[in-house]
């Protein structure tokens, strides 16, 4: 069991590494331009010249996938970092201050969590014009809540530990307590949450862009490549939809699984949405 898992983890790590490499080396690897339109060769099925076929504007699907990977992965990482910063900040303040402040902050969290995430995203999207940055902000602002709740619980339980009480007794200031003792203890949780945050952000970007409220269609991302795919799919051009989706699934799967393995390694209790265990 153990050995099998290790082998699988290595495969996934290699996959992610290769993915990073090929997306960032895209200009060297592919002879095509992801943006140039070729109306003479629209909707061509996969062939030797175009391994994954061409889309409705004659652009090479594989090339766009590689360039799109840059955007999707960047959005994933950036949105995750934003969510971690907001979530950890909120959770630490709430758990550290405790009392009335904690209760009010937790009810605010409950209220935000009761708005279905996509509706919240749609709502915020109305306020800021669509761009790469806005997608990062939208995903970051709508996915920090579970992190905040988890960090708060962690801080609450840490506050009861003897070593924290001992530091209080010897006169440690609040900022010393936070930066030297409490936050470092939360690090494993933050690492695991940030990994599952990346997969969540990649999926969210794909969904938003697919719905037409994410990355603007000109520049490719894994999500917006699927945007127009529905109508072409129904007329038989399966390659436009198949490959971006497969790539999203594989990447998210790899990241999710690695997060799960790390969670076991750190021996953390149930994380995320209260569901995974």
């Amino acid at each position: 069991m153990r050995g099998k898992r290790k082998w699988f983890v290595n495969v996934l790590l290699c996959y992610l590494l290769i993915l990073l490499l090929v997306t960032f080396l895209a200009p060297v690897l592919t002879p095509y331009d992801p943006l140039s339109i070729g109306l003479a060769k629209t909707l061509q099925p996969p062939s030797a010249a175009h391994l994954f076929g061409t889309d409705e504007l004659g652009r090479d699907v594989l090339t766009r996938l590689l360039y799109g990977g840059r955007i999707s992965l960047t959005v994933g990482a950036a949105a995750m970092m934003m969510a971690i910063v907001i979530g950890a900040g909120f959770g630490v303040i709430s758990g550290f201050l405790g009392g009335v402040v904690d209760r009010i902050m937790m009810r605010i969290l409950d209220a935000l969590l009761s708005i279905p995430s996509i509706l919240l995203m749609i709502g915020i999207q109305v306020l800021i014009p669509a761009s790469l940055l806005s997608v990062v902000v939208i995903i970051g602002m709508t996915s920090w809540m579970p992190i905040a709740r988890l960090i708060r619980t962690e801080i609450l339980s840490l506050k009861g530990e003897t070593f924290i009480q001992a530091s209080v007794v010897v006169g440690a200031s609040s900022s010393q307590l936070l930066t030297r003792h409490l936050l470092p203890q939360c690090l494993p949780t933050i690492i695991v949450m940030s990994i599952s945050g990346v997969s969540h952000a990649i999926l969210s970007e794909a969904t938003l862009s697919f719905l037409g409220i994410g990355i603007p269609p000109h520049e490719p991302s894994w999500g917006n490549m699927l945007m127009g795919a529905q109508s072409y799919l129904l007329s038989g051009a399966w390659w436009i939809a198949l490959f971006p989706g497969l790539l999203i699934t594989c990447t998210v799967l790899a990241v999710t699984y690695l997060g799960d393995v790390l969670q076991d390694r750190f021996a953390l209790p149930q994380l995320k949405k209260g569901g995974r265990s």
Partner: protein, 322 residues
């Protein structure tokens, strides 16, 4: 129990209040003033005095908290305004859209419950069997699939290649047609979080199975069937139920995508359409309504859990928060 209900109800009210304040703040952040929204371009042509008068009539000079109170009372009385694009009353638009959404969510719940009960219990009883490994792999895949892409692939297979299922709209011609239209969207919506359900059930069945009281029951010669359904299952069903309450918000979020894909005329596709058309009153109403449904749903689920398991009541009453 009464004390629990009252304190839990109070908590739900506070959350609803905070949520409505957030929504109100949000409305105020939207581009354009309420007066401009009402009169459109004409507002520019009006005299200064007229503009002041309109602002006064709309109550825009009053302090924010009075404005909020008036708005909130209006919302409670069903004054949800009119759509910017069609001029139709938002109330009526919502009333039309809510039924298809409820049908879709209930149908998807059937898929979720049936499949997750079956696989969750079996894999919990037979851990590390072939079926267990296969289910774990499948769960991971379903957790990682973008649900809209999964829907596209189903369409490709069932509608394009086999040509047996329609891809859009509600079925109008009899029950068979209706079911045909319902099955794909409901399956996609139901399957998107099934991995979590299966794993929760599997782990709790597996853990409960090893508990001492179960060994005691076995020692007394009680049949495995009775032990499973009368003793193991009720214990494992609690976390399952409370996850159901929590995932209501995920399901509604999922319905936005699924309804848009399958042109299902429900709340989800209405919300996206209104967002793209900058039709704020409609969007706001859908957000407020979904939020209330989620809060109400988790309230009901908590009550059921507390009714089944008295220990859950103590947790809240001790005031630990959650």
């Amino acid at each position: 129990m009464t004390r629990y209900i009252v304190s839990r109800l109070f908590e739900a009210m506070v959350v609803l209040l905070i949520g409505s304040i957030l929504c109100f703040t949000f409305i105020r952040m939207l581009p354009g003033s309420p007066a401009a929204a009402m009169y459109g371009d004409q507002i520019q042509k009006m005299s200064q005095a007229d503009q002041v008068r309109i602002a006064e009539n709309l109550g825009l000079n009053e302090p924010l908290y009075t404005q909020y109170a008036k708005w909130f009372i209006g919302v409670l009385q069903g004054e949800w305004g009119r759509s910017y694009t069609t001029g139709e009353e938002v109330k009526i638009m919502i009333a039309h859209a809510i039924e298809p959404t409820i049908i879709l969510i209930l149908a998807s719940a059937v898929f979720t419950v049936v499949l997750s009960l079956f696989f969750g219990v079996i894999t919990g009883l037979r851990r590390y069997s072939f079926l267990d490994h296969a289910t774990t792999v499948a769960s991971f895949i379903f957790m990682s699939l973008p649900s809209f892409w999964f829907a596209l692939m189903l369409m490709l297979f069932f509608s394009v290649y086999l040509g047996v299922l329609p891809t859009a709209g509600l079925g109008q011609e009899g029950i068979g047609d209706w079911l045909k239209h319902l099955i794909m969207p409901a399956f996609v919506l139901g399957i998107s979080h099934i991995g979590y359900y299966i794993r929760i059930l599997r782990n709790h069945v597996a853990v409960t199975q090893e508990k001492e009281f179960v060994w005691a029951l076995r020692a007394r010669g009680i049949s495995e069937k009775t032990i499973l359904w009368k003793h193991i299952f009720p214990n494992a069903s609690l976390p399952y139920l409370s996850f159901m309450g929590m995932s209501l918000s995920l399901t509604i979020a999922g319905s936005v995508v699924v309804e848009t894909l399958f042109s299902w005329p429900g709340l989800g596709s209405l919300s996206l359409k209104s967002a793209l058309a900058h039709d704020y009153p409609v969007l706001m109403a859908v957000i407020l309504l979904s939020m209330s449904i989620v809060i109400l749903g988790s309230f009901v689920v908590d009550l059921i859990c507390a009714w089944i398991d008295p220990r859950m009541r103590q947790h809240l009453l001790k005031g630990e928060g959650r």
